[in-house]
């Protein structure tokens, strides 16, 4: 395969898979297998793309460009940078694990379900690869449609309220972004992200940022988060927090910070304050949360805050750390939600007061949850320790108190994560935990272990991402040159 067409293949292969699945009247198992095949093919294509990616070259790689509508300067323009390569990787790996989970638990209405999962994969990859603002917006919105169905049809009891809240929140943000895109593009004469100039307009910056802070989310725009993460099926919650939320953070990096340097420095303190608030408040809520998914959900809010702290620090270390942490937290959060799903399937609940003592007789579950939990609380030597350290060091260069707040929040992370581990695995045996509740089955191990292996790999070599995201320039220089 031609290297440049890999970019488009990664977007459109899953879409083609979705259409195929909708058209073919296959059985549940055949449908699931076909979907799994497509998502694994995605991973293979991504590995190929990463292998062919030249980290010594600056600028956009594997670029493809075609006219969409010329009179307003809108084109189909896709390509990858170092950091978007990692996020695409996170997407395809995470989506493959989650599709596999859906297959494992045997979701009903399988053709609809697997088609939507593949559609979501394509749209999310599209967000990370598109280099045209309107194309970016189209994919950004397109992610919402499969998510709406996945939560609304396969979700928990209160799924309808959750979906309405989720959709209205995110659309409110993204429609303001559409207005900003129209204004920016017509002023610039092009909607191309690579060719487009920087802008000093604070209004436009805010128009973009409101979409991203809702998607990420940052405090106080997280109103949709607890319901959506609790009511979604576990694998969809995993995708939401592990992958989709990263689209908001990616947008901050690729568009808000890059294209609006002056407004970024003007609003830096404000955004840093929101990020710090998300970090501390999310950690506190996670500590107070009565259930497994609540802890993971609010810890995602906290982590989004931390990553935004790194991005808006505007320093080399901050950018590197933010990209590393996006990937690391993505893997952590997907693993945790999938384990939460496994626990819920065995006990019918995620509430801590009904759980406990699951470690006894279930070594695989205990070991995996322990490893992921320990990495997640940023134990020294882990991938998220590297990420958080870089972020805190980066924001320290801005002002010392930001990193003081961040360091405090890491203590909170240890508190909520240890509380989760002990409430699920240890303590007295919960009323819903019966002896019949099995350990993780080989099928479940097959989808969580690769994610954990990825985390362990990143723990051993965090520079694999942090030094390969903005090469060959320094991150700030790359941002300043708009990644050209």
């Amino acid at each position: 395969v031609n290297a440049t067409s890999l970019t488009s293949i990664l977007i459109w292969l899953p879409v083609a898979g979705a259409i195929l699945i909708w058209l073919l009247p296959l059985s549940r198992y055949a449908t699931g297998s076909l979907a799994l095949l497509f998502s694994l093919a995605e991973v293979a294509f991504w590995i190929e793309q990463a292998a062919r990616f030249d980290f010594s070259q600056p600028g956009l790689q594997m670029e493809e460009r075609a006219n969409w509508f010329g009179d307003l300067g809108v084109s189909y323009h896709v390509g990858v940078y170092g950091f978007s390569l990692w996020l695409v990787g996170l997407t395809v790996v995470g989506m493959a694990a989650c599709t596999c989970y859906g297959y494992w638990v045997g979701r009903d209405r399988s053709r609809a379900y697997f088609g939507l999962m593949l559609l979501l994969t394509g749209a999310t990859v599209g967000v990370f690869e598109s280099q045209d603002l309107l194309l970016f917006y189209a994919f950004f919105e397109a992610m919402l449609i499969p998510l709406y169905f996945l939560i609304g049809v396969w979700g928990g009891a209160r799924r309808l309220e959750a979906t309405i809240k989720f959709v209205i929140y995110t659309m409110a943000g993204s429609l303001l972004m559409l207005a900003a895109i129209v204004v920016y593009g017509l002023q610039a004469g092009t909607f191309d992200l690579v060719d487009g100039p920087t802008s000093a307009s604070r209004w436009l910056f805010l128009g973009f940022m409101v979409a991203f802070v809702i998607k990420a989310p940052l405090f106080p725009f997280h109103g949709w988060l607890p319901d959506a993460y609790r009511e979604a099926p576990p694998e969809v919650a995993a995708v939401l927090s592990g992958v989709i939320a990263k689209a908001g953070l990616y947008g901050m990096l690729r568009i808000a910070i890059t294209k609006f340097p002056d407004p970024t420095s003007f609003y830096r303190t404000t955004v840093l304050a929101l990020a710090a608030a998300a970090l501390v408040y999310g950690s506190l809520l996670a500590f107070r949360s009565p259930d497994f998914r609540g802890v993971v959900a609010y810890s995602s809010l906290a982590q989004s805050g931390l990553i935004a702290l790194g991005l808006f620090a505007g320093t080399d270390l901050g950018f590197d750390g933010a990209v590393l942490q996006m990937v690391a937290h993505g893997l952590i959060s997907i693993s945790l939600f999938l384990v939460a799903g496994a626990v819920e399937r065995r006990t019918t609940t995620g509430e801590f007061r009904l759980l406990g003592g699951m470690a006894r007789g279930r070594p695989a579950l205990a070991t995996l949850l322990m490893i992921v939990g320990v990495i997640s609380l940023a134990v020294p030597g882990s991938a998220s320790f590297a990420g958080e350290f870089l972020i805190l060091a980066g924001v320290f260069q801005r002002a010392w108190w930001w990193s003081a707040i961040g360091a405090g929040a890491i203590v909170l992370a240890a508190m909520y994560m240890l509380r989760l581990i002990s409430a699920v695995l240890h303590e007295a045996r919960g009323s819903t935990v019966s002896d019949e509740a099995l350990d993780l089955r080989p099928g479940e191990l097959a989808l969580v272990v690769p994610l954990v292996a990825g985390l362990l790999f990143l723990s051993a070599w965090p520079a694999g991402i942090s030094s390969h995201s903005f090469t060959p320039d320094s991150p700030t220089a790359a941002v300043k040159s708009q990644f050209k």
Partner: protein, 508 residues
Amino acid sequence: VINTPPIDWFGLSPILALTGASFCALLCAVLVPRTARRVAAAGCSLAGFTAGLVLAIWLYVDSANGHTIAADAFYRDRWTALGQVILCCIGLATTLLAVEHVPGWGRDADPARRDNHVAEFFALLLASGAGMASFVGAANLMVLFLSLEWFSIALYVMCAIDYDLEGALEAGLKYLIVGSFGAGTLLFGSALVYGATGKISFHGISSAIGSQGLTGDTFVVVGIALIVAGLGFKMSAAPFHMWTPDVYEGAPTTVTAWMSSATKVAALLLTFRVMTTAFPDNQHLWGWAFAIIATISLAIGNFAALVQRNVKRILAYSAIAQAGFLLIGLSTGSALGGRALMYYLIPYSAAAFGSFAIVAARERELGVPVTLDNLAGFGWERPFLGVAMWFFVFGFAGLPLGGGFVGKFYVFAAAYQHGWVWLVIVGVLATLVSLYYYLGIVRAMYMRPSEELQLPPRSGVAVSGGSPARETLLHLAVGAALVVSVGSLFAVQPLIDLARDAASALPL
């Protein structure tokens, strides 16, 4: 001796083809035996719209230099031709729908009466199509008014053709009264403009206003206001919308599908033409008027739709709101605005037609009006129609599933280019509100199990043996609408090129 002007018959040929087919369909009503009448009349309709389509395409190709024909009564240019192409396509789709779905659900029970007025229905459909085809090409106020009455009268009868269907007579009568009032307003406005300028042709009016300095003339200003109001009735823009929900709800759904798409296409294309051609110097007046009408339509349409339960009423209010979006493009009066309007009308009319066609299918299988409650489970029972429906409503909502997304983007771009950022913001907020009820339709179809549906389908009527009626032609029509709606997202450039060529016929 009256000197007859030379007439370019080819320029009028789509209208003539549709009128001729209409006469043939009417003859079917008396000459063809009842058993073959439906097929024969539908055949006339298909042939008529196909001929109209082919001739309109031919005219489009052949009319690069737009000019007036028949003594300055009619435009032969690409704006007219493209409008006629769209109208004939909608007409073809409506014919497919009508074969299986006219009369509406109320009369399936009585097979003896089913075919009573079917040939007249197709005759009226063709006649209204011919009227609209003439309307979009009108070059003077007289032709404008006559064409308006021509298609309106056909529509009044079509609304009430199913006279023992609950609400159909009410719909027909309401449309007749309100529509006549609108037509009267338009006529009065035309008279005032004629009184001030002494001209009825659009070009003549504009040059008279320019040369005699009549821009601020009271008669002209009031005349424009009345013409705007009269046309506002036809495009169901608020505050001239009050007939829309009742008529859309009461009329047979096939007629609603035709009205919501074709009437809007004709009314908006003609309005853009008459405003930019006859009143270019008064753009500061009508531009603002339409911007305000757009804002009111967006507000009323979207907020009123939020509280509806009947799906046809929701879609009717959505049609009012969509008129608001289309009017954003129109109000700018610029080349970009014209392009945006023409482009947007293509996915809009496909989605409007398709969504009502799907409602017709559900109505037929239930035997009662479709509400959000009895839509439950529809998406799972009829996968193709369900998927099509969410493509259409998400397209309305401006999600990137269809050309509606690009259309909205274009009208916002036109508004911004015109310096109206506030109108962009209004459009964005309106889109946000509209999401709630568009998502409500999808929620009703997919997210509530059909076991919740307490209403059993009528036995032995439309549903035989528990499975839905075979509706091949309906599926074909919906499929075509889906292809247009989704295809226009990908084929933006060719469609925009067509729209640009069409708009270049106007003095922009």
